[in-house]
């Protein structure tokens, strides 16, 4: 038994070398799969439903994939459409697919698998005690679900259902990255340990190659091993580079959790076949006691206006740590005054980040930084944009004339690169969930719609 799986790139729209992709197509893969999403861009994609990458870039990649699929007559599976995997992300990519199909005269059956979760369903799960926290999960309450936007992360099963019903092109909402690559061999009975390890290895495309790239990988999955090959001519794979990929964006490289169980790579071995191919054996898949689907949620925090400035004067730099707390009290009083008590200062977050003096590191600096210039990023976050902007205008004004004890008269304490100094950033979101739903069937949280293109 041999399954050939083609992973053209780590992210749809990131781009890939068309020549390298052709080498993968020439190997006659049984499936082409590609991830289109991640939480790694932050909560804005899920909160707003806006994709990270442009329609133009996604269309460029999709055209090559759809042509190759047509030539081979095999399934094309795109996961986590629109970055967040929200329903509108699936619809957005589907519209691009229809446009390409019309222009290229391609015809196929398309399956759209949606993963948005209605608040009422989640509230019912919550009431039944069926929403369980994963490590480092934030506290949640029942009201969260109505406030936020939530997707469930599918495993292989909804994709297999679409494959069995004859879909040629499958666009999924939020899906485990590995599920896209695992679905075909899993459905056709390949060894589960090898299948999930193979999927984990190629989910980011050639990220595990030397040097890493956005290009593709090809896998030959056989009875007792899989061979993974890099397709770009100027890249290599080594046993170590492939082994190291289990580390990437993952807390534990030896226990990788899937909805149906855990991939255990403790006993996996990696050996070089040639400069571009590594043979992998030995991972095991341990089925879980019960099926779970992970939930991802994002909610609106407020609307934000930002101000960027800089300081060069050492006297001002020396006073900044004292002046910033002083200004916060001043701004609270000013908000009460300006808005006549209609805006509660505690609803407005005014934050000063001193770049060059400890803005980046989340922890405390072991040694004080002593820069000659400091960048100041001021963020004003309020329930609505108009309030954030109005507060930011007097924050920018007052911050450029901070009172410096050594100086008499009005001094300019901040260098502003922009006129006006305030920039409205729009809505701000935050992640709300790191939880699973327990006691579900593998497909009940997802809806599939099929159409002829």
């Amino acid at each position: 038994m041999e399954f050939r799986i083609l992973a053209p790139t780590g992210a749809l729209g990131a781009g890939f070398d068309a020549e390298a992709f052709r080498r993968g197509v020439a190997a006659r893969p049984h499936v082409i799969a590609c991830d289109a999403g991640s939480t790694d861009s932050g909560p804005a994609a899920l909160g707003s439903g806006t994709p990270k990458l442009s329609d133009q870039a996604v269309t460029r990649d999709l055209r090559l994939l759809l042509r190759a699929r047509d030539e081979l007559g095999v399934p094309l599976i795109i996961g986590s459409c629109g970055t967040s995997g929200r329903d509108i992300g699936v619809d957005r990519v589907a519209a691009l697919v229809r446009g390409i199909a019309e222009a290229e005269n391609l015809h196929f059956t398309m399956g759209l698998i949606y993963s948005d979760q209605p608040a009422e369903r989640l509230e019912a799960f919550f009431d039944d005690g069926r929403i369980a926290p994963l490590p480092h999960a934030p506290d949640i309450d029942r009201e969260l679900f109505a406030r936020s936007h939530t997707v469930a992360m599918m495993g292989v099963e909804p994709i297999e259902e679409a494959l069995r019903s004859g879909c040629d092109v499958i666009l999924t909402g939020r899906a485990s990255d590995t599920a896209l690559f695992a679905a075909v061999p899993h459905m056709r009975g390949a060894d589960p340990g090898l299948t999930w390890h193979m999927a984990k290895t190629i989910e980011c495309g050639a990220a595990c190659a030397v040097p890493p790239s956005a290009n593709g990988l090809l896998v030959h999955l056989r009875d007792d091993h899989f061979d993974v090959t890099t397709l770009a001519e100027d890249s290599r794979l080594t046993p170590r580079s492939v082994a190291a990929h289990t580390l990437y964006e993952n807390a534990d490289p030896f226990r990788i959790v899937e909805p149906s169980g855990i991939l255990d790579t403790t006993d996996a071995t990696y050996e070089a076949v040639d400069e571009r191919t590594v043979r992998v054996r030995g991972a095991r898949f341990m089925p879980a006691d019960g099926y779970t689907n992970k939930l991802e949620g994002a909610e609106l925090v407020g609307h934000q206006t930002v101000i960027v400035g800089g300081v060069r004067d050492q006297v001002v730099i020396r006073h900044l740590p004292d002046l910033v707390p002083f200004t916060k009290k001043y701004f609270a009083d000013k908000i009460l005054d300006v808005f006549g008590g209609d805006v509660d200062p505690s609803d407005v977050d005014i934050d000063f980040r001193l770049y060059g003096d400890g803005a980046v590191l989340a922890a405390a600096e072991p040694e004080p930084l002593r820069p000659r210039e400091i960048g100041v990023l001021i963020t004003v976050t309020a329930p609505d944009q108009a309030t954030a902007h109005a507060v930011a205008t007097f924050v920018a004004h007052a911050s450029s004339h901070l009172p410096i004890p050594e100086y008499d008269g009005l001094v300019s304490t901040l260098a502003y690169p922009f006129s006006p100094p305030e920039t409205d950033r729009g809505p701000l979101y935050r992640f709300t969930l790191n939880h699973v739903v327990t006691g579900v069937t593998p497909t009940e949280l997802f809806r599939t719609v099929t159409e002829e293109v």
């Binding site: 804005a44 480092h136 190291a244 490289p253 980046v360």
Partner: protein, 107 residues
């Protein structure tokens, strides 16, 4: 003075999901890996002290085939939250690079 750069070809911090911060320490070769692990420099107390987390919340894994040490713990702020300044957690490893590493095994 010996530092992480003497042992590692790559030191990386990343998100492992929006609520977990993870570090990869990829060594130059087998000898560097064996020596670095042998020093015991990368231990839970170091990360607890530098990043203000409880040692019980820290996962530390040696990965001999990858010649790597991996450390993970809860993110100080969830990714992209109001006061998070490092959305990809890409610079959180930096203070580790300046610390001296004691390699004298004579004692």
């Amino acid at each position: 003075m010996t530092t992480l750069l003497d042992f590692c070809s790559l030191v990386r911090s990343k998100n492992a999901g929006p609520f977990t911060l993870t570090f990869d320490f990829m060594c130059h070769d087998q000898a560097a890996y064996d020596t670095l692990v042998g020093t015991g420099f990368l231990n839970k107390d170091l990360f607890a002290r530098l990043y203000g987390v409880h040692p019980a919340d820290i996962l530390l894994v040696n990965h001999p085939l990858a010649l790597a040490v991996k450390v993970s713990f809860p993110r100080p702020e969830p990714q992209g939250d109001l006061h998070d300044a490092d959305c990809y957690a890409g610079q959180q490893y930096a203070p580790l690079m300046d610390l001296p590493i004691e390699t004298d095994h004579a004692s």
